[in-house]
């Protein structure tokens, strides 16, 4: 059963359609990528899911029931892109305050905070003030305050922005762990390369509309161009390549990139090379990156130009 189902959701601001008739469904335990360039409507969509905005049209089902912001937000952890903490507050108090606002009792919150602080080596921070923390440290704290109340749905908007690789990995590992423990994660970003490895399922939005929906693998299969990289142990000669099976896209001394023509199989190609007396070292399919797919989808629009750079 999906934890979150969105049906024909729309939200308009004065002059523009921020979110236009978007439907999607997210299964329990999934790591879900919400992708799109800046200004695509990701944040507006998330704000509707977190009950900050009311949709103009459409419905949101949370855990099978119509979304009820007042009660359901206790089961949602949201780390917005514009995030921060009260600078003058002590770290422990801050975490406690945010956890209590999510409905945890004081004692529950305290023990959970201690647990998380131990996991992240933050035990000694309790009485420090937020303003004394480095950026990476406060990002860690921010993450802890987001997931402290064991939310069923965790929404992270650009979670890695401003994080160094060490902390980014730490957070990434936590995301995997939380998903394994049954939490669902929505991961919103405009950096497509970040999600390829993490996400099970992605949705691409542009200008308020959904333009792609599927698993990372499905999407790549759908958009693959039958490109292969073949490397050989012996040198490649021009006469080897005059063939109707494929077109050569790129050629080096002992490797080529080819595009297989319609109507043939990989075996046909490999067979051909073997017959020519070439010894194949590797034969790999080149799948398009999400970034390339996105550019292809929005080709010719200003968004594509922005992403080509």
């Amino acid at each position: 059963m999906p934890i979150l189902q969105i049906n024909s959701l729309s939200k308009n601001f004065a002059t523009q359609k921020a979110v236009n008739n978007i439907s999607l469904s997210i299964d329990k335990g999934q790591i879900f990528g919400l992708l799109g360039p800046n200004g695509a409507g990701k944040t507006t969509l998330i704000r509707m899911i977190t009950g900050i905005f009311y949709p103009d049209q459409g419905e949101i089902l949370f855990d099978g029931k119509p979304f009820d912001p007042i009660n359901d937000i206790a089961h949602i952890g949201y780390m917005p892109e514009e995030r921060g903490l009260y600078k003058k507050m002590k770290i422990g108090e801050q975490a406690l305050y945010l956890a209590q606002l999510k409905g945890l009792s004081k004692s529950d919150a305290t023990s959970k905070i201690k647990e998380w602080f131990t996991r992240f080596d933050m035990e000694s921070w309790w009485n420090k003030k937020v303003e004394d923390l480095s950026k990476g440290m406060s990002q860690k704290l921010q993450f802890v305050t987001t997931v402290l109340h064991n939310p069923k749905l965790i929404i992270l908007d650009e979670p890695f922005s401003g994080l160094d690789p060490v902390n980014a990995n730490l957070i990434r590992d936590e995301i995997y762990r939380l998903a394994k423990e049954g939490a669902t994660i929505i991961f919103s970003t405009h950096r497509m390369e970040q999600v390829e490895e993490i996400c099970d399922h992605i949705v691409l939005v542009n200008k308020g509309e959904k333009i792609l929906d599927g698993t990372v693998n499905e999407v790549k299969q759908d958009f693959k161009e039958n490109l292969f990289k073949v490397t050989f142990t012996n040198e490649l000669l021009a006469e080897h390549l005059a063939i109707h099976l494929f077109e050569v896209k790129e050629k080096k001394n002992n490797s080529i990139v080819i595009q297989r023509n319609e109507g043939f199989t990989n075996n046909d190609v490999i067979q051909y090379f073997i017959n020519k007396g070439l010894s194949i070292e590797s034969f790999n399919e080149i799948l398009p990156s999400l970034n390339q797919i996105f550019i292809k989808l929005v080709e010719g629009t200003p968004t594509a130009r922005q992403f080509n750079n």
Partner: protein, 423 residues
């Protein structure tokens, strides 16, 4: 509702625990008392006797008359100089004079004395004092010349005293009433401005720290705003109660130590007692509490709306809050008018309209209810203020909801009003 209480608690505790709160709470009454006593002390000290050399070239005056005049009023001393006039003129201060005055040669009581010059470094008030004393000496000479003796002089002068009596409330002592009115009006004025801007800065803090969106994903924006306003309102209230407690302690302490009969402290204590017995204290305190809270809610929600609309730039906030601050200042101007004539239509309406009522009504109430302030006026004013702050809180909540998530350009008042009426 539980969440609002959590927010109130945080807003209250973080402020009350701050060192600046403790210092300002302790220091303000000390500074205030210091100012009052300090000014009294300086005033007392600077009251040295004015010494003026009167260089009489006309020969009108004689030592006896001057001496008698000095004896009658010891606050200034005139010294008649008949010889070495030039030496006195060139360095009067070395000789212990504060200034000198020349009566020209050939002047008579009737002629030539209407315009004299007092050469002095103490210009403030000294001329009037010398003028009075010299005038009385000259009058004496004139009386003698005209043959008017002591008895006739008494018959000529009339003694007249006029005391105002409040027609609306016979018990009300207008002096006491206007002082109490002025003090409470000013207190509310200060609270509105100081704590109103604290609310504004608190909201701005949430924006600059980028925590606003984190918060509104847990609580409704309205709860966040209300929690902040109530929390800061309680801080103001706490500070206030502490001050009243201090005053009470100081008052009782001075009363207990007593001091010499007829000393300033004793007469002050007596004065305070007299004031308290002549006023309807429960009504005064009750209405102060109401107008304090009502005015605070009314204005601080507007300040909260402004805080939510601007970015971290303090100047933006100032320019946007200027119209609101002007309203508060306008109220204090109306208050000074209302104290002079508490039943004028201007005073009545200013004390009913919620923009000015917290300050103006508080200034009118000490004059007496019902008397100066009719019951219907008070009831209407209370009702209007409740409607008023319900409206501003609602209105501000709408702006706040949009503004708190907006970064970038500063919106105009027009745009903010548009936000308020958007679904």
């Amino acid at each position: 509702m539980n969440k609002t209480i959590l927010i109130i608690k945080r807003e209250f505790l973080t402020r009350v625990r701050k060192r600046t709160f403790i210092i300002s709470t302790l220091l303000f009454p000390l500074l205030y008392l210091g100012l009052i006593f300090g000014m009294g002390y300086i005033g007392e000290k600077s009251k040295s006797i004015l010494k003026i050399a009167v260089i009489d070239s006309s020969g009108l005056l004689d030592q006896g008359r001057v001496e008698r005049a000095n004896a009658a009023d010891a606050s200034s001393q005139l010294k008649l100089i008949t010889d070495s006039a030039n030496a006195v003129i060139s360095n009067f201060s070395d000789r212990g004079y504060d200034g000198y005055l020349v009566l020209p040669a050939g002047a008579t009581v009737e002629n030539g004395l209407d315009k004299l010059t007092l050469h002095t470094s103490r210009t403030l008030g000294s001329a009037a004092e010398v003028q009075m004393k010299l005038g009385s000496i000259l009058n004496e000479i004139k009386y003698e010349k005209l043959g008017i003796d002591e008895a006739k002089r008494k018959a000529l002068s009339s003694q007249l005293t006029i005391k105002p009596q409040n027609v609306n409330d016979e018990k009300a002592n207008s002096g006491v009433a206007s002082t109490i009115g002025l003090v409470s009006g000013f207190l509310i004025y200060f609270i509105l401005l100081i704590y109103g801007s604290q609310v504004m800065m608190g909201v701005m803090e949430e924006k600059t720290n980028r925590i606003a969106e984190v918060m509104v994903s847990s609580v409704k924006p309205f709860q966040l705003m209300l929690g902040k306003i109530v929390g800061i309102g309680l801080v103001a209230f706490t500070q206030f109660i502490l001050w009243i407690a201090f005053i009470f302690i100081i008052y009782n302490a001075t009363k207990a130590t007593g001091g010499a009969e007829g000393s300033t402290i004793n007469s002050m204590v007596g004065g305070v007692q007299e004031v308290f017995t002549s006023l309807n204290l429960p009504l005064l305190i009750g209405s102060f509490g109401f107008y304090f809270m009502g005015g605070f809610f009314f204005y601080s929600s507007l300040y909260a709306a402004i805080g939510s609309a601007v970015n971290e730039d303090m100047r933006e906030a100032q320019s946007l809050s200027f119209p609101v601050t002007m309203l508060v200042i306008f109220a204090i101007m109306l208050m000074t008018v209302a104290i002079k004539d508490p039943t004028s239509p201007l005073a009545v309406w200013a004390s009913i309209i919620p923009f000015t009522s917290p300050i103006v009504m508080m200034a009118r109430i000490p004059f007496g209810v019902p008397g100066t302030v009719q019951i219907w006026e008070l009831a209407l004013s209370v009702a209007m203020l409740i409607i008023g702050f319900a409206f501003t809180t609602w209105f501000a909540g709408k702006i706040y909801r949009t503004g708190i998530l907006m970064y970038g350009k500063k919106p105009s008042w027009k745009e903010m009003i548009k936000w308020a009426f958007r679904k």
